[in-house]
């Protein structure tokens, strides 16, 4: 299939439908409105249902109900809306149901702003809702990657019976890029959803979708079962890109569109004789801890470059485990880092750490 020029949010909708999504429940919030608008137009044509809920809280709980029936279902929102959805997300994770959640991140805290940001890193990787649970969190850097990851997101959600979140900053949602909808061969063996609440027909015991375990021993057992699943994800779902790290003087870590700005900065630094490598996490959870093992001892510093006040930096420190100095460069509130700003920060560090 030929490449077509699409707006990010519409490409998200198209990719979801191609991945078999039949149901969408959402609530308007900038800068992701083109996703529900696209779904309201296209899902009915594809035998699905779009419904605008009365709130983000209701939308995620509709997702919870639809997923319990075994449907491929998704919702999308932006940062404050995702905060509202956290109640439903922890229930869905606790009840072990699949769904895909798209978060087109905007600045915060509070109502914040509507320009691109990455200040939801903690919200999306640390749970956000109550209890010990994890989401598989994927952060593409361009529209093609977003489209390709959508199929994997739905398949992984079904395979693990766990919510998967796709994270894009406002730029991913609003920019236009050429995309190709190519066949993605699934790596997952998916089984029939015998647990779904589809009516017993009087032929089997009743199915119960539930996250309540009043017996502490049972709840602990349930948590161990969930933990085993998260361990499997850590073993099998780490995704990242790493370039020029092995002989780097300095390593920059960035995800999403920020990584594209960092690449420009790295090209400039190369011209000036500074060897800078990049680690680009694609899975924010599980975080690519092992990618850092390729960094030489001689590397002077690792810099987290984020559109936030510094959130991913904590994971970088865990991955570094004291082996390198870890520094930070970020812009927030919808301000976008510039290659010049990143270059200046690197030079400052390289001058300071001999």
């Amino acid at each position: 299939m030929a490449k077509i020029l699409m707006k990010g949010n519409e490409a998200i909708g198209a990719a979801a439908i191609k991945a078999g999504c039949k149901y969408f429940f959402g609530y308007p919030i900038t800068p992701q409105n083109e996703v529900p608008e696209y779904m309201s137009r296209e899902l009915p044509k594809n035998g699905g249902v779009f419904l605008q809920a009365e709130s983000e809280v209701a939308a995620i709980n509709m997702v919870y109900g639809a997923s319990g029936c075994g449907a491929r279902v998704m919702t999308s929102s932006s940062s404050p809306g995702i905060a509202l959805k956290q109640e439903g997300i922890t229930y869905i994770a606790g009840a072990e149901l699949p769904c895909v959640i798209v978060n087109i991140v905007r600045g915060g805290p509070g109502l914040g702003g509507i320009q691109p940001a990455q200040s939801d890193y903690n919200q999306v990787t640390r749970g956000g809702g109550n209890g010990d649970y994890k989401l598989l969190v994927l952060a593409p850097a361009n529209l093609q990657e977003m489209v390709d990851l959508m199929q994997e997101a739905f398949d992984a959600a079904d395979y693990y019976r766990n919510p998967v979140m796709l994270v894009g900053d406002g730029m991913i949602g609003q920019m236009m890029e050429p995309v190709e909808f190519r066949e993605i061969k699934t790596k997952y063996t998916l089984s029939e959803k015998t647990w779904a609440t589809t009516g017993t027909k009087g032929q089997r015991p009743h199915n119960i979708i539930n996250s309540l375990f009043l017996d502490p021993a049972q709840l602990e057992e349930h948590n161990h079962k969930l933990q085993k699943k998260y361990d499997d994800m850590k073993a099998n779902e780490v995704r990242y890109e790493s370039v020029g790290v092995e002989d780097a003087d300095i390593v920059l870590v960035a995800y999403g569109t920020t990584s594209r700005i960092v690449r420009n900065a790295i090209a400039t630094l190369k011209e000036e004789g500074i060897k800078a490598g990049i680690i680009r996490p694609i899975s924010l959870w599980p975080f690519p801890m092992a990618a850092f093992d390729a960094i030489p001892e001689t590397c002077k510093a690792i810099v987290s470059v984020e559109m936030s006040m510094g959130q991913m930096i904590d994971d970088i420190k865990i991955a570094s485990n004291g082996r390198w100095a870890v520094d930070f460069y970020g812009r927030s509130g919808g301000m976008i880092p510039t290659p010049d700003g990143i270059v200046a920060k690197v030079k400052e560090i390289m001058g300071g750490v001999k």
Binding site: K22, Y23, F25, V49, L51, A53, E54, S55, V57, A58, A59, N61, M62, V63, Y64, G65, A66, S67, G68, C69, G70, A71, V73, E87, G88, Y91, A95, T197, T198, G199, T200, K201, G202, Q203, H206, N207, I208, I209, N210, S211, L212
Partner: protein
């Protein structure tokens, strides 16, 4: 020998956790009997709330989905939109439906969602131990209204059925009580009509059931029934508030 009465297939044999004198057991049985009589037990998905009836999933013999506090109508909406041919109902208390879940119940009614809600109103939070609900009567004591509810502090008790009856999407709205054999029979008739309304795709249907909470009211089961008759029914009059013409 002819069988004249037997336990409904809609309920499992599990012993319930409900307190002595609580009317949840009666209401569970009425719902289960109606679904059995309509021959839809195998095509029904129930949604359990947060509250005393959270554990309804251990008692109803049908597929069932436990929801977050107040969100049962949203969960039921998701289920019904995926499976429009199934019978879907929520079973919610007054804390769940009339307080934390007001947005969800109003908008499910507003959309004319083809689901049925069994709304059990006992004018108090039962599971959490007797706190004041929006439905708690004036002067009624609760653990968070130790001197009794006052209008000045908390407003008048919320009449949910009257409010929902103003919404066009709500096709069937009736308030019933399970305080006497005669009223229990009327309650069952209303519950059946509500489910028939859903099956005929007329819109949203709700039956509010006035119920007792002897434990948190601090009354014996018999006195609790009398308290319901003397205090709840005068403020929450029983009867039909809305029905589609043809049903």
């Amino acid at each position: 020998m002819a069988v004249v009465f037997q336990k409904t297939k809609g309920l499992l044999d599990n012993q319930t956790h409900y307190c002595p004198g609580c009317t949840h057991g009666i209401i569970h049985r009425l719902v289960a009997e109606v679904l059995e009589e309509l021959d839809v037990l195998g095509d029904t998905i129930a949604v359990a709330p947060v509250g005393c009836s959270t554990l309804a999933y251990d008692y109803f013999n049908m597929d069932i989905h436990q929801a977050a506090h107040g969100r049962a109508p949203a969960v039921a909406t998701g289920i019904k939109r995926v499976q429009p041919d199934k019978v879907v109902f929520t079973y919610q208390g007054d804390g769940d439906l009339a307080s934390i879940g007001t947005a969800e119940i109003i908008h499910a009614a507003h959309r004319g969602e083809k689901i049925t809600t069994i709304f059990v109103n006992n004018a108090i939070y039962g599971m959490t131990g007797g706190q004041m609900a929006p439905t708690t009567l004036i002067g009624q004591r609760a653990t968070t209204a130790p001197l009794g509810r006052t209008v000045e502090h908390s407003g008048m008790p919320l009449k949910v059925s009257e409010m929902l009856a103003t919404i066009n999407g709500a096709a069937f709205v009736e308030r019933v009580s399970v305080d006497s054999p005669a009223n229990i029979r009327k309650a069952k008739k209303a519950i059946k009509e509500a489910f028939e309304c859903q099956i005929a795709r007329k819109g949203f249907s709700i039956v509010e059931v006035l119920s007792t909470c002897p434990t948190n009211w601090g009354l014996t089961p018999i006195d609790a029934i009398k308290w319901l008759q003397d205090n709840m029914i005068p403020y929450y009059p029983i009867g039909n508030l809305r029905r589609p013409e043809e049903v």
